[in-house]
Symmetry: C2
DNA sequence: CAAGATATATCGGCTTCCGATATATTGAGC
DNA sequence: GCTCAATATATCGGAAGCCGATATATCTTG
């Protein structure tokens, strides 16, 4: 799963959101480590819908502008939870190794 | 940073390794969640060397076969540590949200 | 000689990312 | 009315990156 898909799914946890709203939500929950660009978003959404991880919730017209809301599916929630565990395990594996690593040294004992 | 680059850097923490050895090491430390394929490895290594995150350590001839050992640079270690923090933060953000999510429900209160 | 493991390296197809672009509405400033 | 910016959806093309296939070469097993 790509980081963009990961943030899209996370943005949809709890409440359906429309495309443009996902951008802002992803930026917020990543605290500036934003990865989602408008040129990426709709391709990601199409793929997630195709994979059954996300589905269309409803369409609204707000102040003349169309809003297409998407919703996380059960599969999407499960896939996201699995990805969280995977990333946590990966980060821990690297973190454990880094504890024994000394900066500015190569093989030195310090 | 891609997951393949992440595992390559992690495999090089602590001791220099040659390309083929990185494959096995990455498979071990990911406990089967292996991402690194032989067709990916050398492209990843070239990019990491180009970015200064990894450098050539030495070349050996073991039983007639060339072994090219790579070593993590200081920049590489710092970049890996930053990536670990990033992924940990991402996983936590998603995890926090998922705690409030109920499977097999859409808007239900349970 | 053939097959499999080790070891490096390249190629092409595919997926994905993302800036640019297009379309359309609302609101602010002149 | 016109321009600029924000909101909102959508597509296109270049670029990056992944990975199966392929090539080369050695050693071991049969």
């Amino acid at each position: 799963m790509t980081e963009q898909a990961f943030f899209t799914l996370t943005a949809l946890v709890g409440a359906p959101r429309h495309g443009y709203g996902i951008l802002g939500e992803a930026a917020e929950l990543s605290e500036g480590r934003v990865q989602l660009k408008v040129g990426t978003l709709y391709g990601v959404l199409d793929r997630l819908v195709g994979d059954g991880l996300v589905e269309l919730d409803r369409e609204e017209v707000e102040q003349g502008r169309l809003r297409r809301y998407y919703r996380l599916t059960d599969s999407g929630g499960i896939a996201l939870a699995a990805e969280v565990e995977r990333q946590t395990a990966n980060a821990r594996a690297a973190s454990d190794r880094l504890r024994t690593w000394r900066p500015a040294r190569h093989g030195g004992v310090g």
